[in-house]
């Protein structure tokens, strides 16, 4: 196979070709390494997807690539996953050059299944952001339009996959950080049920919400990658045994599948072009035999408020560890211990991270705890209850993934609240801990629109099957401009 053809293969096709002996894992790795390396070397003139790219194909799986399910297919990994001996900076200056002494469980699991570490991807600092403009290592550009954001916080992963710089990538999703960039870059992104993937070795943002998931070119790749990610890990007490195997999706029809459309997330605040593409996708679903009905999520409009209390509160606690003592940056010439803490954190954290630490500290502080954090946790209960009730009537819930298509770089950086509204449709599922996928469902003004499909806890196979059937029917051409 010549190099250009190799890059057209989905990750699953590439793995099959390697297993069949028609493609060499080493050649595949080199083809991607050259592309990713060129983007990395181009700096601001490229997409700035990567914070690190492998010099050579890792040797550990090269001997018998066909004997493992992922067959040596290269994998790009979001910067916040710890990778032993490889910079893992979570997009932050405070961890510049940090090389962890161990590798995150989910990355190890994928490496054991045959994935090879191609690159680490740029991200919003500590996964806080919806545009990837909060990275200490520069903004990522959207391959569909270089003047626009790729979404965030897994913006580097999404842009790399959309531009064909990596066959697939790992991301993390706390309030939409896989699904929203997948939507804005025209690819597939899935947040699994909370607890299904180990968080051990993921540099934490908000521990009750953070989940790792795949960013891929198509739904089958998402299923394949996820199938090798899930499972209990003794190192993460919140990780669960996934109750069944993640299957290869194959549904061609949606006969008898009950799809719910919540008015609360499909009306006010959603751009007209996004709603048009969403409604067109609903028409496809109906043609495939699905029954579509209205469903109520009465507390969903309050999810964003609850999220922007809970996530910063957890972040303010998680990020207390960055104090200049054990790793990372330390401010120069501290006068005493407190001076070292406070100046290290001032110098090392970016504006958005400081804002969230302040917000979370305020919400947890004496006198405000009940009014903010306590109430937000009760809202979270109501949101989970809403979904439980809705899933008594429908199998899956459909919404747009993001209220808008990719916006211009710099357009929302001056207004944090406007940026937070990007997460309007994705945050409710995060608070409820349920799985949700974003698949591209069309274009608006020449830019991709994402369709979100959510299901009850552990319904990943049903979500993936519906996503696959719709993907085939929609026929979205995911080949963004290959840079």
């Amino acid at each position: 196979m010549i190099a250009a053809d190799v890059l057209e293969l989905s990750a699953a096709q590439a793995a099959d070709a390697i297993a069949a002996g028609s493609l060499s894992a080493g050649e595949l790795f080199e083809a991607y390494r050259a592309r990713a390396g060129a983007d990395h070397a181009a700096g601001e003139d490229g997409l700035n997807c990567f914070t690190w790219v492998a010099d050579d194909a890792p040797a550990q799986h090269a001997d018998a690539p066909a004997s493992v399910p992922l067959a040596g297919v290269p994998l790009a990994v979001k910067d916040l996953f710890c990778t032993e001996g490889v910079p893992s900076q979570s997009g932050s200056l405070i961890l510049e050059g940090y090389e962890p002494p161990y590798t995150a469980s989910v990355v190890r699991r994928l490496q054991s299944a045959g994935a090879r570490l191609l690159a680490k991807t740029n991200q919003d600092e500590f996964a806080m952001g919806s545009s990837n403009e909060n990275s200490a290592y520069g903004a990522v550009r959207n391959p569909w339009d270089r003047e626009r954001v790729p979404g965030g916080s897994s913006g580097g992963s999404a842009a790399a996959v959309a531009a064909g710089l990596a066959p697939w990538a790992l991301g993390t999703d706390t309030g939409g950080s896989i699904r929203q960039p997948a939507a804005l870059c025209g690819i597939v992104g899935m947040k699994p049920t909370y607890g299904s993937v180990s968080r051990y070795g993921m540099i934490a943002f908000a521990s009750s919400l953070d989940q790792a998931g795949p960013l891929t070119r198509d739904v089958r790749d998402a299923a394949l990658l996820l199938s090798h990610m899930v499972g209990h890990d003794p190192c993460d007490a919140t990780s669960l045994s996934f109750p069944h195997a993640i299957e290869r999706p194959s549904a061609e029809r949606l006969d008898g599948v009950r799809l719910g459309v919540p008015a609360e997330l499909t009306g006010e605040g959603i751009e007209a072009g996004v709603l048009d593409a969403f409604r067109a996708a609903l028409a496809h679903a109906e043609q495939l035999g699905a029954q579509i009905s209205d469903v109520e999520l009465p507390h969903a409009p309050h999810a964003l408020s609850a999220y922007y209390v809970i996530a910063p509160a957890e972040a303010s606690s998680n990020l207390a560890r960055f104090d200049g003592v054990r790793y990372g940056l330390r401010a120069e010439n501290p006068s005493d211990l407190l001076d070292m803490y406070t100046r290290t954190r001032h110098d090392g954290f970016g504006a958005e991270v400081k804002r969230r630490i302040m917000l979370g500290t305020y919400a947890l502080s004496s006198g405000y705890y009940d009014a903010y954090y306590g109430r937000a946790q009760r809202v979270r209960t109501k949101i989970a209850d809403d979904f439980r009730t809705a899933f008594e009537h429908v199998d899956l819930i459909l919404t747009p993934t993001a209220p808008t298509v990719a916006f211009k770089l710099g357009e929302k950086t001056a207004d944090p609240l406007a940026m937070y509204l990007n997460d309007f449709c994705t945050v409710p599922m995060s608070l409820a801990g349920i799985p949700a996928i974003s698949i591209p469902c069309g274009l608006s003004a020449g830019l991709p629109v994402g369709l979100q499909i959510a299901g009850p806890a552990f319904s990943e196979n049903r979500v993936l099957d519906a996503a696959y059937a719709l993907e085939q029917s929609l026929g979205f051409d995911g080949t963004a401009a290959r840079v």
């Binding site: 209990h232 408020s305 003592v325 804002r355 302040m358 305020y362 903010y372 306590g374 809202v379 806890a457």
Partner: protein, 102 residues
């Protein structure tokens, strides 16, 4: 609802709690931005939440779970030199920090 107003003193108080130094020119924007976000999130104050239990975590609250606690048994851990390898300052096999009171 009354607009939330976070003033300079409150910003400095919270920054002290967060162990975060703020430059003079960061204080006013922080006050303004925190006020705007808190104004938005204060909408949850409108909801009737009497008798609603809080959810701190979906695992355990709503999903099948493993025993959260493992047996408390010694396990292998990082070697000292590995744990110290990324430290900004090291002395006598430990992390070196400035005195709490210089």
């Amino acid at each position: 609802m009354r607009a939330t107003v976070i003033g300079r003193d409150e910003v400095l108080h919270v920054a002290r709690l967060a162990r975060l130094a703020l430059a003079e020119d960061e204080i006013e924007p922080m006050a303004r931005e925190l006020s705007a976000v808190l104004d938005h999130v204060a909408r949850i104050g409108e909801l009737d939440l009497d008798g609603v239990a809080p959810t701190s975590h979906v695992v355990g609250d709503a999903m099948p779970t493993h025993p959260a606690l493992r047996p408390d048994e010694p396990r292998p851990c990082l070697a000292r030199e590995v744990a110290l390898a990324q430290a900004p300052a090291v002395a006598d096999g430990g992390f070196l920090v400035p005195s709490p009171q210089a």
